[in-house]
Symmetry: D2
């Protein structure tokens, strides 16, 4: 089956996949490894908090990621203020030896949606501190442009609350974001199933980040396969120039040449 050949490029680095996988929610390291392999992802996100003593051991999470040969994107999950997120980002830079960070500054623990004001503050600081900042943001096009303008390497709008599986609750806003920023747009959070991921790409996103949809599916490996195909399908479709929507039908077979009965 034909694969995508155009690469996702973030901050000058090309990635071989447009699917980014979160590592949270997996039932075991073995399940996670199977999902990573099946998804063919080239980058996984890891929360600093998950990197405790066990994670660093042989056979731990870090080991697994190394073995899979994928890039690590540390995230600041669980931070509720700019100050906290900036601190975690710096710790992560040491721990993972990478200046890339998925910046999360959460507004409340029920929706886990970003706090716009604190997010901008943290992003400004981290850009100043030399990080490659990929902010998890709301689907607000004005905020997305502000983040891009201040130097973020990508913007990662939420399709819906993390883990909700609601898909993309506001496709119109994702389209608007695509129009107003020049950096990659990565749909992050809300994806429930394969068609959601395909839709994200068709709306113009450059990549999709998901975790729960795969790690908590009944068969994570099968869903990881599905998501790989879905992202490829959506990307190809986005470039193929779809037919316009029509209120009435358009016969695929013209009326001429109809046999005389």
């Amino acid at each position: 089956m034909v694969e995508l050949t155009d690469r996702l490029v973030i901050a000058g680095e090309a990635l071989s996949s447009r699917l980014i996988l979160g590592t949270g929610g997996a039932s075991s390291l073995a399940a996670l490894e199977a999902a990573i392999t099946a998804s063919a992802t080239a980058m996984v996100t890891v929360a600093l908090r998950r990197v405790d003593a066990a994670a660093g051991q042989p056979g731990g999470l870090i080991d697994l990621i190394d073995r899979c040969g994928v890039r690590v994107l540390p995230n600041t999950a669980g931070c509720y203020t700019a100050a906290e997120a900036v601190k975690v980002a710096h710790l992560a830079r040491e721990a993972f030896a990478t200046n890339w960070v998925k910046l999360e500054v959460i507004g409340d623990d029920r929706t886990l949606l970003p706090d716009a004001v604190e997010l901008v503050r943290a992003a400004e600081q981290l850009v100043d501190d030399g990080f490659v900042v990929l902010p998890y943001t709301t689907d607000d096009p004005v905020l997305a442009r502000r983040l891009a303008d201040l130097g973020c390497a990508a913007v990662m709008p939420a399709g819906a609350p993390i883990g909700s599986g609601l898909g993309i609750t506001n496709p119109h806003h994702i389209r608007l974001i695509r129009q107003v920023v020049d950096v990659p747009v990565i749909l992050d959070a809300g994806i429930g199933t394969a068609s959601d991921a395909a839709l994200a790409m068709e709306l113009g996103c450059d990549a999709v980040l998901l975790a729960t949809a795969v790690t908590r599916a009944q068969d994570p490996t099968a869903m990881a396969h599905a998501m790989r195909h879905a992202v490829t399908a959506g990307r190809l479709a986005a470039g193929a120039g779809r037919i316009p929507r029509r209120f009435h039908a358009l016969a695929s077979t013209p009326d001429e040449g109809r046999p005389d009965l």
Copy 2:
């Protein structure tokens, strides 16, 4: 990339693909051949009317289909009465040497939606005449069950009017159909882009039939690739046990083990 291994079985015959391609609307035979190859379809539909003198010549449509090694599913496109459709089906059986027929009995030329009453009449006759009947039907679950009960080998509900690209206008009805028939359900008509095809499979369809979405896309080959991935994605997702939809968020990274800052 992992492929589907479970086969679509219609009337006891296994097909190697869950994507059925219509041949109408292609700009040229070369474009059609490229799309067939890219889609990896195992069966194409052909309207009898398209099989004129030219089609039978070397280098014509029949030749192309033979060369691609795909099965032909003749259709009765353009028929407005049961009598007409039955006649065309018989002619097609002779012309294509197959007793399979995609039965279309159209109600009007603006929507090209099926005429329920004439469709049932034609299906009854053709089943009696020994055909393997695959009726293009409305998304009405009661009608679908009636068609299955009278011996149709599959049911092919419309997602939306032919060529409209509106996708699946009533997912609820497709789900209902899936519950009430035991034969394969093939989403037929309305598909505009890849996510529509993935959704069809997630709703429980066994296959997707589409023509215009590929043949009239700006880049039919790319869209055929996209559709192939989309059908695979949707099928895998349908079997993977998706996460439930939740109103609020569910953290992928648990709160325990958060670093003490």
Copy 3:
């Protein structure tokens, strides 16, 4: 508050309301009477089966309807074949002294959706027998036109299964029906809340029939009031020429005259 002045006309008879109320599901006759009054309906449907000995007594259902001064539209709820529905219609004509009938021929007891084939058969018979036939039909535009063409006085497409509260699952089909029939289109079944009823009218329906949404609401009288307003709102909006949908914004306040700060 301004009321609608254009009347719903069915078979030459003008009705003072575009809301038709079903009487099933009410917790008591008193609750039903309050709902009828609050809705300002001019016609209620009654299943023949409900008209048992008790219904005919003083203080029974028939008495209540007389007292409310509304028209009765008998229905053939619970009939699964044309023969059965025709019989019930004739019994109802005797019992209620009206040749109007809401024709229901149900396909199965889980969806309670109409059976297209039996419905057409029953409608033909009842039109021949001199009834004013209002068929509860699917949202299939071809079937709706067939029913109108054979002499039905209105068509009553389902928005969604009876009692489901799903609203209008396929607005596109309701629009298509509005285009292809000249008789009144009455949205029947599926309505859950006020905005559903308003939408039905905006899609071009001439009236809305609902029962469960009012009779099983926690406060049936309040919901009846809501539905009255909703139908009026939708009807007025349908005639007011709504603004077009735009992808981007359109400032309501022009930029000229902006104060110089």
Copy 4:
């Protein structure tokens, strides 16, 4: 027709209508006056820029508003920074002799969506300055709660871009906002037709603000009537306890007592 009796209360003031009307886009003062009357609104918004010499003259906009007996809510339309919006708010306080202000700080001129960061800044300043601040905000629940927490008297989330007529593009976010703030939630912007306004109220909004949907409709007076009914319908429905959504049908008429045929 029954009217709502529960009042919208903002900052301790009760208003007799839950529909707030913008004055922009009207073709003439006469058209505007007719719309105000038909809508039965109790408060209209006016952009300071519209209050030029002409507006203050006898027969001008101010005169019209006085004559209609409705409250004025000055807005800061057209402001792109906090500083600008604060200045305009102060000018408006002088001009209109009211400390109420609808605070708009726009992020860009294509979407006219709010700029979260500047909006918060301006809101903080104006609350400090003793204004009753009603901010036009995004549909972001975290931002809405922040605005409520800093002392805004209401929050006014956008349903869709101003003048777009797209309705409520993200009902899920409106529900979330309703859950997390204690001040009135007023749906502001995006409304295209009556069912949109009814839906806003059903989602839990306390009021709806709209302009273009009425002023630019083909018949603004009829649409104003429609909106009045729609807001009432939605409010009543929200309080009436709607039936739950069900996948299958629920017969309104029980099977018992079915006549024996």
